[in-house]
């Protein structure tokens, strides 16, 4: 039987010339993230900076339709804990993210159009924590038309939606410094990035040293911006990650004890039975 298969394989091998290797797409660069591993968590400060980078750089083209402002203040979110205004160095938290002043303030920076119940006319109102992040475009067609035919992807679950996840997005954001290979021709408005499948994409480099002013003394480099915004996007893709891992630990410990007890019971029941 084995010889038969080996013969078949050899025949097949002879019959098929090997295909030439295709254009190189670089594998994403591996980066150490704070949330990796069974105990990894997000760094709130980093999520706050990432939100800032998203708002000041990405949000002009990329929507995050599934995110609401209230998410920013929920357990595990960037503004879950705020400095206590009355006690220096202590933190306060809010049972309902609706009452979180930072969340309210961020939401109030945006205006939303809704129908006035009295008149039926459109009217503008300030954003509230329950509102979704605003979409920079009125609809998908406008998003595509404004970007050379390819609508910028929504960022709500972008880290889950790309193979390579956080590593891929970070590599892509920082991957514009490569020389364009000879066999790649770029049309106007196109850019070369070897981490992007196929290497050619419409988005140009977006992160430049010093472009986003951080309030604290975190380095204001493109590297740092990329890391921060990817952390924010990773959180946004799965806001309950910390809860999931915490609960998982308890469940695993419980099941381990339960399994040991079941094994002892099994040994006990079968103690005097040959099988």
């Amino acid at each position: 039987m084995k010889r038969f298969i080996a013969t078949l394989a050899a025949l097949a091998a002879l019959a098929t010339p090997a295909l030439a290797a295709e254009g190189e797409t670089h594998a994403p660069e591996n980066h150490d993230w704070s949330w990796e591993g069974p105990f990894g968590t997000f760094d709130d400060r980093q999520l706050q900076r990432g939100l800032q980078v998203y708002q000041e750089v990405c949000a002009s083209c990329h929507s995050m339709d599934l995110l609401s402002f209230r998410n920013l203040g929920q357990p595990g979110g960037p503004f879950e804990y705020l400095p206590d205004p009355e006690h220096e160095g202590e933190l306060i938290t809010f049972a309902n993210p609706n009452d979180n002043p930072v969340v309210m303030e961020i939401a109030s920076r945006y205006t939303y159009t809704e129908i006035d119940l009295e008149t039926g006319e459109e009217m503008e109102r300030q954003g509230i924590p329950a509102d979704r992040f605003p979409n920079p475009y009125a609809n998908d067609a406008q998003a595509a038309a404004s970007n050379g035919g390819a609508a910028p992807p929504d960022f709500s679950v972008i880290v889950k939606a790309r193979s390579g996840g956080a590593d891929y997005i970070r590599s892509l954001l920082l991957g514009y410094d490569y020389e364009v290979p000879e066999d790649v021709t770029l049309l106007p408005g196109q850019h070369y990035n070897p981490y992007f499948p196929g290497g050619v994409l419409a988005m140009g480099p977006q992160l430049f040293d010093g472009a986003v002013p951080y309030a604290d003394d975190t380095p204001q480099t493109a590297e740092q911006y990329a890391e921060d915004v990817v952390a924010f996007l990773a959180w946004a893709s799965e806001p309950h990650m910390e809860q999931r891992k915490r609960m998982g630990l308890g469940v695993m410990i419980f099941l381990l004890i339960f399994a040991v007890l079941m094994w002892l019971a099994y040994r006990q029941v079968w103690a005097n039975v040959k099988h």
């Binding site: 019959a15 799965e238 469940v251 099941l255 079941m262 094994w263």
Partner: protein, 431 residues
């Protein structure tokens, strides 16, 4: 049931109920006192594990249906809402999605165990056939369930699989449109898939009852394949197998929990986190892992065969791969059940398992990619999948029928008890 009932109602209410609806008696005779071969190993625990996973899937599924919106405009967002806003929705959704995978892990091990120990042979043919029907329904439920989140893989998987029907001559196109209820996979398709996805698990639950019934008439097979001869061969199901199954279930749940809590999306595909878009096809469409071997068989047929086009041939091969299981009880001509005592069949079975795993590998790869490449020559996956597909069918249609005549089985123990005690055949059945 085949054995004499030993249930004795003790309290007044038990007697009252027993003379009207002997359901306690049924449960007692089936799961407490049922005489079970004493030599069942851990491969026999997957039946109980499967029952647990059917319950997990139904419970979590009923919960998800409370929050899911079966409409093309809302399906994707509603699943994300479950993961984000519903209390513990992330947990229940993860249990359901990973539960499907673990359901298939357990069912494949359950089936391989049946194949190895000859559990499909007389007098258990009906038991086996009900099992294959359950497996088919599981595949249907899993396929339709995967469409519901309405991601790119959902949409394009549904498109590819429903297009298979179009390969049927004459009626194919009509049936395909009837399945869709539209000119392509669309809202009507999503709605009916949701409805059927909710229905099928209850059909499965009904068939599971028949499956257990059909198991309890002849009783369990066992690793020796020698039928139960006397009381010394068996133990009451409770506590011996409740505790053994229970231990196995907890261990299996531990692995399951590891995935639910620490690798929740590792069995999924990144493209399914992109909302379905009928205008853009993902670069590489793959089904869930548990369909990969069949997907490989489907793609292995790349040539026309007489009047049968390659496309139709692939569909026939794929369905034939499951269809052949129905005929298995009559294809295997060997009088010996357990492959423990079948020196040649044992090796053919091992190769069969490897072939199935290999087909899974082929299903995950692009057919034109190379399995290996050396000095300018190599073998693409499509060729490997053709070889393995050929072996899959040869195993059932040639090897098992022929081995029944040419293979000389090893000596089998006189009885289960004799095999357990390791003594020679002399041991008389215990009284």
């Amino acid at each position: 049931m085949s054995h004499q009932s030993t249930y004795e109602p003790k309290t007044g209410i038990e007697k009252w109920l027993d003379s009207r609806l002997p359901i306690v008696r049924l449960g007692y005779d089936s799961f407490v006192d049922f005489p079970t071969p004493r030599n069942l190993n851990y491969w026999y625990t997957f039946g109980g594990i499967l029952a647990v996973f059917l319950v997990i899937q139904i419970l979590s599924g009923v919960v998800l249906a409370m929050h899911y919106v079966p409409h093309v405009d809302h399906a994707f967002d509603s699943v994300e809402r479950i993961r984000r806003d519903i209390n513990y929705g992330w947990l229940i959704q993860s249990m359901h999605a990973n539960g499907a995978s673990f359901f298939f892990v357990a069912v494949y091990l359950h089936m391989f165990r049946g194949l190895y120990y000859g559990s499909y042979k007389a007098p258990r043919e009906v038991l086996w056939i009900i099992g294959v029907v359950i497996y088919l329904l599981m595949m249907a439920a899993a396929f339709m369930g995967y469409v519901l989140p309405w991601g790119q893989m959902s949409y394009w998987g549904a498109t590819v699989i429903t297009n298979l029907v179009g390969a049927l001559p004459v009626v194919g196109e009509g049936i395909r449109e009837w399945l869709w209820g539209d000119f392509a996979v669309g809202n009507a398709t999503l709605n009916r898939f949701f409805s059927l996805h909710y229905l099928i698990p209850f059909l499965i639950a009904g068939l599971v009852i028949l499956h257990i019934w059909a198991l309890h008439v002849p009783g369990n097979n066992n690793p020796t394949g020698v039928e139960v001869k006397g009381k010394g061969d068996t133990l009451p199901f409770h506590p011996y197998y409740t505790v053994k199954d229970g231990f196995a279930i907890v261990v299996f749940l531990m692995i399951f929990a590891g995935f639910v809590f620490y690798l929740p999306s590792v069995l999924g595909h990144a493209d399914n986190s992109i909302e379905a878009n009928p205008l853009v096809t993902p670069a590489h469409i793959v089904p869930e892992w548990y369909f990969l071997p069949f997907y490989a068989i489907l793609r292995a047929v790349t040539f026309d065969f007489g009047p049968i086009s390659a496309k139709l041939g692939g569909v026939l091969a794929m369905f034939g791969a499951i269809g052949v299981l129905f005929a298995l009880p009559w294809l295997d001509r060997s009088p010996v059940k357990s492959m423990r005592y079948r020196p040649i069949a044992k090796w053919c079975f091992l190769i069969f398992v490897i072939a199935c795993l290999g087909l899974g590998w082929c299903g995950a790869e692009n057919p034109d990619n190379m399995v290996f490449e050396f000095g300018g020559i190599g073998m693409p996956f499509v060729v490997l999948s053709q070889i393995l597909t050929a072996y899959y069918f040869i195993y059932f249609l040639v090897i098992l029928p022929v081995l029944g005549f040419v293979e000389k089985p090893k000596e089998r123990p006189e009885s289960i008890e004799a095999s357990v005690l390791g003594s020679s055949p002399a041991a008389a059945p215990a009284e």
